[in-house]
């Protein structure tokens, strides 16, 4: 299924030609089970990257957990382009006994800037507690069903999303790089 979201990053997959993407193993498996996603090829270390729509994220998260990706190492959020979309990135891997160079996958969930709502996966991987709160605090992505979604680093009464590229720090009398 074609998505219309912008992709800012060019990946290694570009070398394979525009129409034929190198699909990773997980992507192939997901396609086999008829799950909507978009493969973004591989990032620079060869980790498979997938792009998922916010509506499908909570079901695909459970599926990935069952597929035995039980360790969510890090969750990050960034804006794809100033004034563009916001992306929430999850790095998953699998911790098993005696494993060496385990499989990893990187999931990007992309939300529009005007209404950034992404389902929270706290109930699948508990390590999302503070990390989603931090993405909310810094970029304004609101995670639905998160038990305590409030600002964690900035004071509660702060207005604005500091890490967005178009953020202007108040009372700051130097040149700012806001796009």
């Amino acid at each position: 299924m074609r998505n219309i979201y912008l992709r800012k990053m060019t990946n290694k997959k570009e070398k394979c030609g525009r129409d034929k993407k190198m699909q990773g193993r997980l992507s192939v498996w997901l396609v086999k089970h008829g799950l909507v996603h978009r493969s973004l090829g591989f990032d620079y270390q060869g980790i498979e990257t997938l792009q998922i729509k916010p509506e499908d994220w909570h079901s695909i998260a459970v599926i990935l957990y069952v597929y035995s990706y039980n360790y969510l190492r890090s969750q990050c959020a960034y804006d794809v382009a100033p004034g563009g979309l916001l992306a929430s990135v999850y790095h998953l891997t699998r911790i098993e006994y005696g494993v060496d160079q385990p499989e990893e996958v990187c999931i990007k969930v992309i939300a529009p800037r005007s209404n950034p709502r992404i389902p929270s996966v706290f109930w699948v991987w508990k390590s999302m507690d503070f990390q989603e709160r931090e993405s909310y605090d810094m970029l304004g992505i609101s995670y639905e069903n998160h038990p305590r979604l409030k600002r964690i680093l900035m004071p509660e009464s702060w207005i604005g999303w500091p890490l967005r590229k178009d953020y202007i720090a108040p009372n700051f009398y130097e040149i700012q790089d806001a796009h």
């Binding site: 990053m9 060019t10 990946n11 990032d43 620079y44 270390q45 980790i47 039980n70 360790y71 969510l72 190492r73 890090s74 990050c76 960034y78 990135v89 790095h91 911790i95 006994y97 005696g98 494993v99 060496d100 160079q101 385990p102 990187c106 991987w125 508990k126 390590s127 999302m128 507690d129 503070f130 990390q131 931090e134 810094m138 600002r151 964690i152 680093l153 900035m154 004071p155 702060w158 604005g160 500091p162 890490l163 953020y167 720090a169 108040p170 009372n171 700051f172 009398y173 130097e174 040149i175 790089d177």
Partner: protein, 527 residues
């Protein structure tokens, strides 16, 4: 599970944000039922410094001093991850010798971090003495670091492609001596602490977490290894040259605080083993890969376009991050320290996300302290080993407008400074002449300010016809040395008096030639 409530209402207690003994700032809102903890909510952000936002405007070399301030107990790890990310992005090979040096520094840093963890942890539990013993060993590590990098703590030693400078002559022998000494030190800690019954009472069975749950909560480092999961990024990722050495992952099965303590102690012994093997096997060769300093992109802008004309902070030619993204990680003493780096084909990264081990390990605290006693909170908190300053993002930092802009025409600061001179002395010398002492500065300032009144300003602040007032001006401004003399004399202190005399003599030595010059010109002019 039904807790029989001993009181009718639960009590809510606020711990922090200030804590004694090197804990940094964390606020815990603890809900208590008697002495049992029902819930605990950590509130963070007190030391939020904006590291991620700052990173978007710095090149890697410019950013290195910042990263050592994330986790100051083990600064080498933060530097290592900062250079590892761009190295992996740029496919930069690190020479063998640099890799060995890095491993030695990292393991020394790991030992330093674990040492500094033991001190405050034991101090929280009640044993104050180890706090001093750890600093004895940590000073030796500091000495080694200072000899090699120049700084005891915030080293700024790692560079993209190697390290900044080679090890000095004799450093390897000193390091070997340190390893031998430290092994006896660890034995001392074992004797003091590990079989101490009070310590075991406090620490055994406290804050238990199982392996599955630990994985789900995203724990890493000794917290994870203490719960039975043999997961160490040095073995899993095969980074740097850890594969060349013979060492084992230290782990325990129980998952309580005692297990975490034991994991850290044995990790220190393993680190010594690694260091000894590295010191013996260190090869010669270059210590930095200087190839990365070849820049082939033409950077001269067009004549008279914006880049050419805007003369401001432009970074010198430096390593450019390609337009790729990656997640680099390493095994810091606290856990998995990671960087998610999105490059932007310029010196600055587009996004630099820090995955801090302490932040993520802290999430489990509310879960761990349920059903524990109040005193166990410190044990559990201590064993989580969180460096509160670790990394944060900030928006408005303390900024105020510069002094030359405050007030109408920017004169407010100067006026305030002058007014301050009149009121600043709030100590009056008891035996001096208090009247002269207080009036002295006033006379100096007021006469100078008064002298402005006789300067004939015309419209738009242009000096008008000089006929009137020039000598009046000299006369009024010469009152100022009298003020200096008065304050010097009234202070009842011969050095201040001498200072006043000197200042008065200086002012007069300007005034006399000035007056004579002006006098001669006016005499010539009024004819």
């Amino acid at each position: 599970m039904n807790l029989s409530a001993t009181e009718k209402d639960l009590m809510i207690v606020n711990m922090g944000p200030h804590h004694p003994s090197m804990h940094g700032v964390l606020r815990l809102i603890v809900t208590l039922d008697g002495e049992d903890v029902v819930d605990c909510e950590p509130i963070l952000g007190y030391l939020h410094r904006g590291m991620e936002k700052i990173a978007e405007n710095r090149t890697i070399i410019q950013y290195l001093p910042y990263v050592t301030r994330w986790d100051y107990l083990a600064a080498m790890f933060t530097e290592a991850i900062t250079v590892n990310g761009p190295e992996q992005l740029g496919n930069i090979q690190v020479p063998k010798r640099a890799s060995y040096i890095r491993v030695i520094m990292l393991e020394l840093s790991r030992i330093a971090s674990h040492l500094l963890w033991i001190g405050p942890f034991m101090a929280d539990i009640g044993a104050q003495t180890p706090f001093f013993y750890i600093f004895r060993e940590r000073e030796l590590v500091y000495d080694l670091f200072e000899a090699a990098t120049g700084m005891r703590m915030m080293h700024n030693y790692f560079r993209i492609g190697g390290v900044a400078a080679d090890l000095p002559y004799g450093w390897l022998d000193k390091c070997l001596d340190f390893c031998d000494y430290f092994l006896t030190g660890i034995v001392e800690y074992q004797k003091l602490i590990t079989r101490n019954p009070i310590f075991l009472e406090r620490v055994e069975g406290i804050g238990v977490i199982g392996g599955e749950e630990a994985i789900n909560w995203g724990l890493s480092g000794p917290m994870l290894r203490a719960s039975g999961i043999k997961w160490d990024l040095r073995k899993v990722d095969h980074y740097e040259c850890y594969d060349k050495f013979d060492w084992e992952i230290q782990w325990q099965k129980e998952g309580d605080s005692l297990a975490r303590y034991l994991v850290r102690i044995s990790e220190m012994t393993e680190s010594i083993k690694i260091i000894q093997q590295a010191l013996e096997g260190i090869p010669g060769g270059p210590y930095e890969n200087l190839e990365i300093r070849c820049f082939d992109r033409e950077r001269d802008p067009e004549w008279n376009d914006f880049e050419y004309r805007f003369i401001s902070k432009k970074p010198s030619p430096t390593f450019e991050l390609p337009r790729q993204e990656l997640y680099a990680r390493m095994e810091a003493p606290k856990g998995e320290l990671g960087i998610f780096l999105i490059g932007d084909q310029s010196g600055f990264p587009w996004r630099w996300k820090i995955r801090p081990p302490g932040f993520i390990n802290l999430q489990i605290l509310p879960q761990l302290v349920k059903r524990m006693k109040l005193a166990d909170i410190m044990t559990i908190l201590g064993v989580l080993v969180i460096v509160w300053l670790e990394r944060e993002i900030s928006a408005g930092i303390q900024q105020r407008i510069g002094p030359e802009y405050a007030g109408p025409l920017g004169i407010l600061q100067a006026l305030a400074d002058g007014t301050k001179l009149l009121f600043k002395e709030n100590i009056l010398p008891s035996r001096g002449n208090t009247r002269l002492f207080s009036i002295g500065p006033a006379i100096a300032v007021i006469s100078i300010l008064l002298s402005f009144s006789v300067i004939p300003f015309s419209s738009r602040l242009i000096l008008a016809d000089l006929n009137i007032g020039i000598f009046l001006w000299i006369a009024i401004s010469s009152i100022a040395p009298v003020g200096l003399l008065m304050s010097g004399y009234g202070s009842n202190n011969k050095y201040s008096f001498l200072g006043g005399l000197r200042a008065a003599a200086q002012s007069i030595s300007y005034e006399i030639p000035l007056t004579l010059c002006v006098l001669s010109i006016s005499l010539r002019a009024i004819r």
